[in-house]
Amino acid sequence: MDLFTLVSLILIIAMLIAAVVAAEIKDLLSAAIAMGIVSLIVSILFYILQAPDVAITEASIGAGLSLAIMIFAIKHTERWEK
C-alpha cells in the first residue's frame, strides 16, 4: 500500500464518518458543520486526484458559502431537531 492510497483511504473514511454524523446528529449546527467537513475532504480528494479546478470550486462553494447559508437558515429557525 503506497502513501497515496493510504491518504485517500483515511480521507474517505473520515468523509464517511462526517456524512453519517451529518445525517444522524440532532444538533443542526453540528450537522451543517459536518457537511462542510465532507465538502472540504472532497475538495482535498479532488486536489489529490489532480483536478485543481474542481477542488477550488468545491472548497469555496461547498465548504464556504453553502455552509454559511445553511448557518443563516438555522439562525432563522431552531438549532435542535425535534
Binding site: 485543481p52 479546478d53 474542481v54 470550486t57 469555496s60 462553494i61 454559511a68 447559508i69 443563516f72
Partner: protein, 243 residues
C-alpha cells in the same frame, strides 16, 4: 422499525451501486479500444473523446487550461445551463424570502473592532483575488464559478462584520442580468456570425497570453460577475435584515 427498514434499503442501494462502480476504471486506462460515432455525419472514427480533448484542445479552443476549454467551449451550452440553474436558485430564494422584506429591523449586536477593521482591509483584496481567478480562467486553474464564489465570500465577510450591512438589491439584479445577457448575447452572436450557437468567433491570439482563447475570457468574466452577484443575493436574502 422505520429506521431499520431505511437502513436496509440504504445498504442495498449502496451495494448495488458499489458493484456497478467497481467496473469504473480508476486513473489511466488504455484508450485505444475506443472509437466514436458521429451521428450528424454518420461516421465512425478510432478516437476517444477525453484523448481528443487532451490532444487537440489547445489547438481547437486556444485555451491553455483544458478544463476551461471543455467547460466553456466544448460544452459551453452546459455551462450556460448551469449558470441558469444558479440564477434560478437565486431567483427562487429571492421569491420565497420576499416575505421577509417587511420585517422590522431587529436588534443586532455589533462585531468587535478587530473583525470590523480586518474585514474592511481584506474585502478589497478578496474581491481582487476573485476577479483574478475568473479573468485568468483560461490560463490557470479556476474560472467563473470559483471566482464568483470568492467574490461572494468577500461580501459574506462584510455581512458577518457589519450586521446592518446589506448590498443594494437593485444593483445586484442589474449586474446579474447584464452578465447573463452577455453570455446569451455571445452565444447568439456566434449563431449569426458562424451558424453555431456559442461559437468561438474571436481570434485565439497567442497561447498563455491574457488576451487569448477568443470568447472564453469574455464568457468567464460574465460567469464570474453573475455567480458573484447571485451568491451575494442569496446570502443577502438569507440574512433577511432589510427595511
Amino acid at each position: 422499525m422505520k429506521r431499520i427498514l431505511g437502513g436496509v434499503i440504504a445498504v442495498l442501494i449502496f451495494i448495488v451501486l458499489a458493484l456497478a462502480f467497481v467496473h469504473i476504471p480508476f486513473g489511466n486506462i488504455d484508450l485505444a479500444e475506443y472509437h466514436y460515432y458521429n451521428p450528424v455525419d454518420n461516421e465512425h472514427t478510432q478516437d476517444s473523446v477525453p484523448q481528443h480533448y487532451l490532444d487537440e484542445g489547445k489547438k481547437e479552443t486556444g485555451s491553455t487550461n483544458i478544463v476551461t476549454a471543455v467547460v466553456v467551449d466544448y460544452r459551453g451550452f452546459d455551462t450556460l445551463g448551469e449558470v441558469t440553474v444558479l440564477f434560478l436558485a437565486s431567483t427562487g430564494v429571492g421569491s420565497i424570502m420576499y416575505i421577509f422584506e417587511k420585517e422590522k429591523r431587529r436588534k443586532v449586536r455589533r462585531a468587535n473592532a478587530v473583525v470590523e477593521t480586518a474585514s474592511k482591509l481584506l474585502f478589497g483584496f478578496i474581491i481582487l483575488f476573485g476577479a483574478y481567478i475568473f479573468v485568468h480562467g483560461h490560463l490557470t486553474p479556476g474560472g467563473g464559478f470559483p471566482g464568483g464564489a470568492v467574490i461572494a465570500s468577500s461580501f459574506l465577510l462584510l455581512y458577518l462584520a457589519y450586521p446592518r450591512f446589506h448590498a443594494e438589491h437593485k444593483n445586484l439584479n442589474i449586474a446579474e442580468s447584464l452578465a447573463g445577457l452577455t453570455f446569451v448575447g455571445v452565444g447568439i452572436l456566434g449563431l449569426f456570425l458562424a451558424g453555431y450557437f456559442l461559437y468561438n468567433f474571436l481570434p485565439f491570439g497567442l497561447p498563455t497570453y491574457l488576451f487569448s482563447a477568443g470568447v472564453i475570457p469574455v464568457i468567464y468574466v460574465a460567469v464570474g460577475v453573475k455567480v458573484g452577484s447571485e451568491l451575494t443575493g442569496i446570502v443577502d436574502a438569507m440574512m433577511g435584515v432589510r427595511e
